[in-house]
């Protein structure tokens, strides 16, 4: 069956560039504004928290980041142009997560380098020693705990792309917007993440 695929531009700017937020000083307690904000953002709280939980690895930090993100989203709500509320909130949440990592666990985001990641990657064997039955190997990868642990072990820069794709189901374009990186980088990080997961899940099998 043929599907017609339409995709509208989802470009958005999560926060104003002069983002100290003091310049605009909107009335924060305008009930109409609050209602509009709530209507747009409440449906995406699970998404925001879920991303924070995946990036930060524990409930306590995820809660802090989600709270920070929600407050910021409210402050910068005038910069939201009504296109993709979920991606907008996710972009802010992601930034809050990185800010928190920088404060509390800088070693986790220190020195991720696209080229290093590419070089350290051992390409999975293409011919010859390929696993006899990838379906079976990965069916056992269905083991929930092992899969989740493997994803938790990815570098945060790859983990976020994988989670945005597989948990939130965002398109490459949306992921690029949320993470503020080009689509090409989305593709390369995603395939690195998957190669790493395939390797881990396969090794665990043998």
């Amino acid at each position: 069956m043929a599907f017609r695929r339409r995709r509208r531009d989802t470009t958005f700017r999560p926060e104003p560039s002069n983002s100290d937020g003091r310049g605009e000083a909107p009335s924060l307690h305008d009930p109409k504004r609050l209602a509009e904000f709530t209507a747009h953002m409440t449906p995406h709280l699970d998404a925001a928290y879920g991303l924070a939980r995946w990036l930060l690895g524990n409930d306590h930090d995820a809660e802090d980041a989600a709270q920070d993100a929600y407050a910021r989203a409210y402050r910068y709500f005038s910069g939201f142009h009504g296109v993709n509320a979920r991606a907008w909130l996710l972009a802010i949440t992601r930034r809050c997560c990185y800010a928190l990592l920088e404060r509390r666990r800088p070693e986790e985001i220190a020195g991720y380098d696209e080229r290093d990641a590419a070089e350290s990657e051992v390409a999975p064997p293409l011919h010859g020693s390929a696993p006899d039955d990838p379906d079976r190997a990965l069916a056992r990868a269905g083991d929930a705990r092992r899969l989740n642990e493997a994803v938790e072990g990815l570098p945060v820069e790859q983990r976020e792309i994988f989670v945005l794709r597989e948990v939130e189901g965002l398109s490459y374009k949306e992921i690029a917007d949320v993470a503020g990186i080009p689509i090409g980088t989305v593709m390369s990080r995603l395939s690195r993440a998957r190669a790493q997961l395939q390797r881990l899940l396969r090794d665990g099998d043998s």
């Binding site: 599907f3 017609r4 879920g50 995946w54 990838p134 069916a139 929930a144």
Partner: protein, 239 residues
Amino acid sequence: MTCDEARELLGAHVDHELDLRSDLAVQAHLRDCEACRSQVASLQALHEAAQAHLARHPIPAAVARRLRRSVQPAPARYAPWLTAAAGVLAGVLVAVVVMRPGLDRTERDVIAAHARSLLVDHVIDVASSDSHTVKPWFHGKVSFGVPAASFPEAGFPLVGGRLDYIDGHEVAAVVYQRRKHVVNLFVWPTRATAPPSESNEQGYALLHWAEGGLAYWLVTDAQAEDLRELQRLIATAPR
């Protein structure tokens, strides 16, 4: 296309993110290359495992409450009616703020109805996973037979139904669950027929088609491919 070239694209092929020309080239390569076929199968299996087992981490209710309260005015300074008015306005504004030039009215209403159903906890009027309960519930409430089959084996259990309004008409809303996500199916009579057509608005995936005298709209914050799967199930289920 060589293996090396193809392998760069296999992930995007599995994700349906390739442009048509590249995708055809990949498909042509896959017909001749067993190693790449097996890599595609392995990526597909990883995707399915992720869909089935990756932790979702929904926001704890207490945290969601605290977040919502954190942006609300201090109760001492505002009369209670103002807070109540904000609540009412939220409902009204879902309908208003999603308006955007270029979005047709039906699409807009479908998104608004879906968002509203999540927002005010008014997902269902009749809660049942049994299509023999949900189907008759609509008798006498709407003037057409409502398709309300359940597909639990395929991962789309029916959770219930309710009445809703789209484009000024009363319509049937059939509610499915897809993992932790809600899928709303809106149905109403039409003379038109239309092939399935997808769109993506405000972070929601939509899928519309029309056949057999009914217009169908699926909407969810789960994935577009989930809708495609559910569409196939609905279209082939006995009415």
